[in-house]
């Protein structure tokens, strides 16, 4: 039940993009086509889950025992950057097919604030390891959901005549606002 609440709240009520504004750069950057949006969503799911587990372990078994919690930001970003690099190298060797699908998105993920954001949120919310994993998976599912829906909307926006000043990013932002309004309907569900 407790995990269920975490999942519903992370995907719908506090959607990581539409309510918390983490990962807005890829949200605007790679959302012009549904297929690329799905690829990015998959890559984020993969990296976010691993990164959250690793940073959780580092926090509780290295930073806290040594009383160097102030190094949180520096150590997390280094861990995430090297992790992304490692995942890329391993995927290339172990699963060329998956690498083909996710490869181009992996380097972009290091500067995706959703990854670092979730890693820090998990610590702030005082979750245990299992809750953290569930939280990470649910958040990346919410990320992928918002990204794919938004990409679907943008595919249609490309076919519509928009006033010149509004074309491109402005109309995309306004649509994202309306999408966020729709997601606000889930508020109060948990």
């Amino acid at each position: 039940m407790e995990y269920f609440v975490i999942v519903i709240s992370a995907i719908f009520v506090n959607n990581i993009i539409l309510a918390q504004f983490l990962g807005v750069c890829p949200f605007l950057g790679v959302s012009t086509r549904v297929s690329t949006a799905a690829g990015m969503g998959g890559a984020v799911l993969f990296v976010m889950t691993i990164a959250t587990i690793v940073t959780y372990l580092i926090q509780h078994y290295v930073l806290i025992p040594l009383e160097i919690e102030y190094l949180q930001t520096i150590s997390y970003i280094l861990i995430i950057a090297s992790l992304v690099q490692m995942v890329e190298i391993m995927l290339k060797k172990l699963s060329p097919a998956l690498y083909q699908a996710l490869g181009v998105f992996l380097p972009l993920i290091t500067t995706n604030c959703a990854i670092l954001g979730v890693a820090i949120l998990v610590i702030q919310k005082d979750f245990d390891l299992m809750q953290s994993v569930v939280f990470a998976v649910a958040n990346s599912a919410g990320f992928a959901l918002a990204l794919v829906i938004f990409a679907g909307i943008r595919e249609h926006l490309a076919l519509i005549n928009v006033p010149k000043g509004m074309a491109g990013i402005p109309i995309a932002l306004v649509s994202a606002g309306i999408l966020a309004l729709a997601f606000m309907g889930f508020a109060g569900m948990v």
């Binding site: 539409l18 309510a19 918390q20 504004f21 983490l22 990962g23 807005v24 750069c25 605007l28 102030y70 190094l71 949180q72 930001t73 520096i74 970003i77 280094l78 950057a81 290091t110 500067t111 995706n112 604030c113 670092l116 954001g117 820090i120 949120l121 702030q124 006033p163 010149k164 000043g165 509004m166 990013i169 402005p170 109309i171 995309a172 932002l173 306004v174 994202a176 606002g177 309306i178 966020a180 309004l181 606000m184």
Partner: protein
Amino acid sequence: MSQIKNFTKGFIKDNPVFVLLLGMCPVLGVTTSAMNGLGMGLATTFVLVMSNLVVSLVKGFIPSKVRIPAFIVIIASFVTIVDLSMAAYLVDLHAQLGLFIPLIVVNCLVLGRAEAFASKNNAFSSIIDGLGMGLGFTFALTLLGGTREMLGSGKIFGFSLHAFPEGIDGMLVFVLAPGAFIALGYLIAIINKLSNKTA
């Protein structure tokens, strides 16, 4: 390029938010009021100026293969300094901005300027570039924060403007998440329109 031009390019022509669309997460996330926007902008400006300075000073010693991780460590150090100083001296603002202070590390604007400008120019131009870009970012955040605060609650920097009739507090949606996207969309559209006219 003259230093003045170098300084002012961040405000309009290459404004990081309205034109380059860099660092969107804090732009949307913290601009619920003009004050929050200003605080976030100044924190980012500090990190930007200091990291630009250090990167331009050490650029000769860092092998180009490991330059990105090295830049990230430099940036993360200054972000930690800002985070801890704000937690000590600006408790309220720090609580409001919360998660977005450590997330300055992954603000593409900071890394982008280190890579695109500071790693190729001398210390003085790098400071000017960081200052110009940072103040342009602050300007954009304060403008967006002010717009949302005014539409959402009829106030600017906490002072009531009495723009709405008695009994109406404002359009709450502009303070909530959807308003951030909509307000920024229209601001960019207005700026596009204006810059097309002058060009």
